[in-house]
Subunit: 293 residues, 2 copies
């Protein structure tokens, strides 16, 4: 497990460094949007999504440069979604990773534009030939990421989350909502290696099953931390909305923990065909289940 | 000239119809974001950018389906930028094309997400094999549109426009600002045919010169209409900010009109190599110069 910690740490440093390289600094009147994009992108963190890209890519011996650029593009999408989520009209959050959120550090206009800019730039990076020599693969990456991040994916999940307030949701409703809101980007990350290596549907389906279970595990632990965690460790306020329906309000703390074990089993079964190559994907499940932030 | 009007009208109808086809309706909790995206995308209008794509494509006999899908993707980017521009934190506009702007017809959250969704969907449409059989061309379209719409293009231009308030700008400053803010998408539109047909740099450079002049003509006439036009014809408030520095405040009304003639000459020279094929691009210059909205 300490191996995994070190690996996540090293991967996060590489992601930080490629983001630093990809995100321009600019002088002149447009400077604030570049600064804000860098501010929110270079806040550190575990960089879980790029790590998943890296793990998916190492199943199929994909070149490191490709996996780093795909991970960076995905992290830009994740970062833009956090910037827009934090806006006063959305979650109105002043803090992100223990620092002022983008619209607090800059202003609302700059935060909206920095989010738009990062979302756009992700597709520029993916479609650039530096990412992969084969344009068919670059195109598939663009399309899959757009589907995952768009109205049928993450953006739709955000909409559902907001529209769901004060509605009574079932376990199935929350599952669909979370599958779109956070699951879709995890799924893209975990499938990315198979897309790049041109693998068949059987392989993609196995990774998709792992991704589905992984996404639910991530969300259930997030809900548990919101009940059991504290703001210092999380770097953001916790327990803000006691009326909100979550996996934990639906299943109870013990029920949620039981569900985590069942999902871990499912995820492990899905990736057994990769044998030793999937060691870190196996360890990662326990890592997420036992995380404190 | 009446030919051109009819052609623009017909092209706008086709754009409306492909947007209608591409933009899904959806039931359930995510429905509002789909509705808002359709509301803002299907408001009618001249659809000038898709028309430019069509004209660029007809110089090189590109298939109609390709030019329609590229035009639709570009129009989605244009529409998202209007939705985000109109937000209270940005221009705070209640009206767009004579109707309530997106955040007025829906709410702020839905408008932010609909903008994000349209921006993302544009890249999904471009990267889809329905757009063109060659993935190398689809990839170049994605990259060029991302560059045009991103922080070095449209988003950067928006940032400049906001940062420029209360600053004293020169003609050159305004030219750079407008070249990014509105010029970059026109340039993509006018180059799209050459990208799809794999044309060389000489051709692209000619279209780029036309595009630069066209963008300035468009912006100068916009500034003139803001002084001379009326809100009914424009479908949006005019003369809102008398302190704002524009081409007209810098050059005066007569100076601006003289500049239009010089730019028209430049644009005509740039496209003379296309001979008869560029008839509508020639007529379009007078159309934009004499427009009333």
């Amino acid at each position: 497990m300490s191996d995994l910690h070190a690996l996540i740490q090293k991967s996060a440093e590489k992601t930080e460094s490629i983001l630093d390289e990809l995100l321009d600094k600019e002088a002149g009147l447009s400077a604030p949007v570049f600064e804000a994009a860098r501010y929110s992108s270079l806040m550190g963190g575990k960089r879980l999504r790029p790590f998943l890209v890296k793990q998916s890519c190492s199943l199929f011996d994909v070149e490191e440069k490709t996996s780093l650029r795909v991970g960076a593009a995905l992290e830009m999408i994740h970062t833009y979604s956090l910037i827009h989520d934090d806006l006063p009209a959305m979650d109105d959050s002043d803090l992100r990773r223990g620092k002022p959120s983008c619209h607090k550090a800059f202003d609302e206009v700059t935060a909206i534009l920095a989010g738009d800019g990062l979302l756009t730039y992700a597709f520029e990076v993916l479609s650039d030939q530096e990412t992969h020599q084969d344009p068919a693969i670059r195109c598939e990456l663009v399309r899959e990421l757009a589907v995952a991040a768009g109205m049928h994916g993450m953006v739709g999940g955000q909409m559902m989350d907001i529209a769901a307030e004060e509605k009574s949701l079932t376990y199935q409703d929350i599952k669909v909502l979370q599958d779109k809101k956070t699951g879709a980007l995890f799924r893209f990350a975990l499938l990315s290696g198979a897309i790049i290596a041109g693998k068949d549907d059987q392989i993609k389906s196995a990774l998709g099953q792992y991704a589905e279970a992984f996404g639910l595990i991530f969300q259930i632990t997030d809900d548990l931390l919101d009940v059991e965690g504290n703001a210092d460790q999380m770097g953001k306020p916790v327990g803000q909305d006691p009326d909100k329906i979550t996996f934990v309000t639906l299943l109870g703390v013990e029920g949620a923990k039981k569900e985590l074990q069942a999902l871990e089993k499912k995820a492990l079964e899905a990736i057994c065909l990769f044998e030793n190559k999937s060691e870190y994907l196996r360890l990662l499940l326990q890592y997420v289940i036992s995380r404190r932030n």
